[in-house]
Symmetry: D3
Subunit: 283 residues, 6 copies
């Protein structure tokens, strides 16, 4: 009983130096407009990960064969959105400088912006793949340019046209869809075109942002704004397996709000997707 | 702060006189035999509607372009089923007389009978489309002819053979299915045949009754009798989009029981379907 | 069905001009550090108020005899705490200028600051009575001076020593209790001394701030940080009845977080206390 | 495995003929105006009773020493309130004719009327003791004279002045309290005077009606209208122990609504009170 | 009210002697490693079965035409796994000796072992069909050879190679999948191949073991380890209908954990599948 | 982000060697007879402890002034009760040998036996104080001598007469109460006599076992068998403060079952009591 009580995502117990991939959490939900609570996402995913297996029959790989370090959650100042994004950027930049790939667990979707800032500095030609129910392309939300519903507009500001690939989108304002038509590669309702996009992005640096509400609300009710009409877990899994050949330099998994997940099934689904993404990214 | 606190379904804030479509609630669950609670459906749908968008990427229309009046809920005497049906009939008749189409939010399915009485008086050649898990064709239920499980038999009494079109049905007594074989157009298990029916009903007055338990219980657990084996949200959405060309004179959306919907995902699905139906019906 | 769907707290349906007391909601939880959700408090209190009676056997008065206007909720910009406080201040100042007393429904406790700013301008000799589990006297919280846990320190900044009367306090940092010893009138654990304080404040303008977590967590679990060791509902009711003789110029009732109140009993308790406070304040 | 699956309340497995006391359920909530669900009360109490002990350290008696028959639930026609009351009356009358005392598990409070009809016929001098949060003395409710909120007015119609003893009352309309002042023995807020009443009723036939919402909502949240400001479980237990010397000819325990009792603690409390009442009544 | 309160699964009220099929429950979850609670499965299925119909439109048969006896639950010693398995074996053996087929309701999956022991003695050439998310082929679990995750390895010990047919499997350790490759007929992820297997097993004695977590967690969240990526209810139903021609000598339905099924939809799905299986097995 | 993610109870971050008190968890619920789930207790207490303060206004001490090491949870073999008890005994013995006092977080109550075995070896004159709703004095439970309901009988076996002090007891079999009369110091229903007992035990080695269900179910619903009629949180707190002068050599806090604690208030109460006990024991 002399050992400290170290908590990691299932089998992500490599030392930092030896690790290929680094996992960390960002418990932030400060701009959530409807039902808050994604701040509890990272600890729920970590805690419940022991209910699943380290081995994936989908890709025949095992987490115990990977070298992944779980660095816990960032400590964040409450209510200072700008500062939170800087902290995320700095953490991501450090990891990239150390030659690590990373998987960031949200939290709300705005956290993507911090990570993409770091990634776009290091990999100016990065493409961003977004799986999401929502466009997240508003210019501002109630006067605020930094928000979960403006995050991809901000990402576009960094990347420019043709570098943001949006899939599964089924909710947004009319003007957002109009914006997307001109500036992003938006694929409505499902992931059907993802194989093609994945083929096009071979060899390029790619950032992958997974808003779990891309899943149909039947498969993922544990989120602030459950969205009917989404993809099934099998469809999401199939797409995630396609990440394998890509050069994923960073990634996030966000919008689990465990207090709305009474049965635990959304958290369990998030754990399984996290395992699978780690297995695709780790070498 | 001098304005009164008016509550409407998202963006349904037209004045009555200017409105093309009228929305109203009927918080009645007096004949529910298993788990009651649909009386809380209308207020849940209204309250949670602000979690969705006014714009639909499915049909590229926006509620802000429509003229819809939300008249709140009917006030109902407890435990007097006959009187409740009369109040519904009267309200519906007034709306039709004023040249309005209406969308009625339940409550349990029996409320359809009140509305169809008004509709059938004004449009004697009306057809009724029912999406439902249950036949609702019993002659009586525990001796009572007015019940959620007899409602479509009562509707048939008003309409006669060949005018009741039932879809998604997967539950009922043997005798109900036998009755349906002779007297109604019953389509078991799914909505596959709906396109054909919709084509046949072009130009005729149509009443559309949506019992939300037509959805599979994975997509809609927030109801008194969740029924596995139903349609997916996508299948329902696709069928609802087919309503566009039809002459819908009245409509109801019923059987949401929000106290069984801990995650809020059933209520959110009901909101989205309500928006989509409004967009199909409004001009 | 031509009337708009006006929602008020039970029987608070006076016209603004005729009203003696104005009720309004502030759905803000932007600085909540643990479990968010009090943004849903005002609408829950309003919606569930119809489960209680207008008459109080405690004080033999009836809401139907009072003239109270319910102005609904303030519309607030997300994530801009400073602006939210200004909006509250402005609303409260307008009400005071119109000669109204007000009851503000939170939301988190920081909202008190906005209201006290308006009250202290108009009534420079105002005393503030706080019922709460927490001191809320931190100088800053994670670097932020505007927070639910600093609100009473900010109020003290406006009022100075001896004008802040704290009751039921059982949680805080050591330095907060040390600060209280010198600058506020802090009564730990219960409301036993309230009769005496109420007697002392006769005739003076008084602002009353009720953080519902002053209640023991057995009586009030529907809050972000349920606190065991608090007062019973009967003890709180008894103290609230003592408000009758006082010159209450403004008041707030805060920290109900209905998503943690599965049985609805916390919301029902909040409704009953709200009724009783209205009955004490209205003339 | 040849035995049928007989379900009883804990240890209530006597044969009917040998039984001194008969327990039965009435799963009726047809006139509930706010949150329905007490129809599930009897089966919840029966099912969860195996979580408690047969022995009571309060009165040093054991259910295994009693002869109690559990007759299951009455079968009731839906939505026919009048007929439900007749069925209850008939069942109770049969039991009294067979020389049994009975304990009836609700269901909503209106069921008391059926039982008191039978009791008052056989024991014209019966007194009724009511523990309740609500007066239940309305003349009608939304035009309906048979309702959970009129039940004790109906009982008074049968008994006349001075025979209805009400305890723990803290909710009702002003006119109900005025009625009580002239016609019933109403004791507000608590059970403090019950010892005295119990002493006065020695030797007389007594019917005891326990609306479990007499308990404070902290001790009993699993009910349609949880009422803060009630008695503690210990206070209720103490009063129930006072039933021992009385000539209780019939009794009911009502208003448990288990779907609002997520933790099961309300159901467990109901089980324990049921055990204790059985132990006081059985010989 | 002289009848005892017999509880059965819907319409399973035949006398034992006359019965063709016997239903019984095994409320055991003693080796559950993650979230326990399946001990409450049998009573939940029995209690909620009254929410569904006796008639199946899927196969046009009715439970009221069958002769099924519901023998209630086995009484089990706590914490003695070996003894529990013996009791199950004995019960199953008695039923087989009396010429009955049986349907056993779990409880956790380990209970299958007890039943298969009895079946394999009587029908040495029996084949076992397993629908499951998990391989359950571990040799031991934390040193323990009798566990929910070793149960099918133990079954294989009894049967040998080629007699265990596994479908829907999507979780397990790498070594389990390796074992399966050599010794069992494992079909990953879905039930697509079941038609073929069913054809092959015509005429042979078959034991059917249904772990309900074969369903996708969207369709079945009420279980200890909800597993995303499973089959839909429709797919399961289709496969169950294929059981009709087979010689099913025994069967189990396990892993419903009702306390994680807040909406009741998992329990309702379990009830419907139980009905359908009974209809396929009964003659 | 190079630091590992160490999780401790609030502020219990001393190094082992420097620590005065050691905290550890025992996630075991293998003999629970009614509703399992206390296995999740230790991690819930640890995780939610950050919702409370380090400072106690009850005793004016602060956890940040103490030297406490949190060793995480023991790893336990499933379903081998005897071995679990040995592991607990060994861990406790090691701690005592290193001169540490310990606080063990359950888990079910049987874990006390393992700890008392170690304590009684080292301190043969130890007294055991038990706060509990249940006697836990059965000789065996369904044939099993090692069970949550026999644990104190087993403790008595180790200690002999007059060394077991039981408080708050309100549930058990008649024979258990009879046994207590002769062999233990049993104080029914409350903690009123604890001051006297505490005075008597001054200077002696004492083991303190807190079954949290000693609390009334209104204050603590998050447990397998919630028991009405218990002590209030204030009464428990007052008694815990009395531990200060005693020579507590070991201690446990058990029976929190967080899945039945939807609002989190039971877990929060457990956290606060844990803090207070740590503050009394640490030097």
């Amino acid at each position: 009983m002399r050992d400290k009580n170290v908590q990691t995502f299932l089998a992500c117990d490599a030392e930092y130096g030896a690790a290929d991939v680094v996992l960390f959490g960002v418990p932030f939900d400060g701009t959530t407009s409807f039902r808050p609570g994604t701040r509890f996402g990272p600890s729920a995913i970590r805690g419940e990960s022991f209910g699943i297996e380290t081995y994936s029959p989908y890709c025949d790989r095992d987490l115990t064969d990977c070298r992944i370090f779980d660095g816990g959650d960032l400590e964040l100042p409450f209510g200072n959105t700008q500062r939170v994004l800087e902290l995320i950027r700095d953490s991501a930049a450090d990891l990239l400088a150390d030659g690590k790939r990373f998987v960031m667990l949200g939290g709300e979707h705005l956290i993507t912006l911090g990570a993409v800032r770091a990634v776009a500095e290091r990999f100016p030609d990065v493409h961003v793949i977004q799986f999401d129910a929502h466009t997240d392309l508003r210019k501002e939300y109630l006067g605020e340019p930094l928000s979960h519903s403006t995050v991809m507009r901000q990402v576009w500001n960094l990347l420019g046209d043709g570098r943001l690939h949006q899939f599964g989108i089924r909710s947004g304002e009319r003007t957002e869809f109009e914006f997307a038509r001109e500036h992003t590669c938006l694929h409505k309702f499902n992931l059907a075109d993802f194989t093609e996009t994945a083929a096009q992005l071979q060899g390029m640096p790619v950032y992958f942002s997974l808003d779990l509400d891309v899943l149909d609300s039947s498969a993922f009710c544990g989120t602030g704004t459950p969205e009917a009409g989404g993809v099934t877990f099998k469809e999401l899994m199939e797409a995630v397996l396609r990440l394998h050949g890509l050069n994923i330099v960073g990634c996030d998994i966000n919008e689990l709000s465990p207090h709305y997940d009474h049965s635990g099934s959304s958290t369990a689904a998030a754990c399984k997707i996290t395992r699978e993404i780690l297995l695709q990214i780790a070498r």
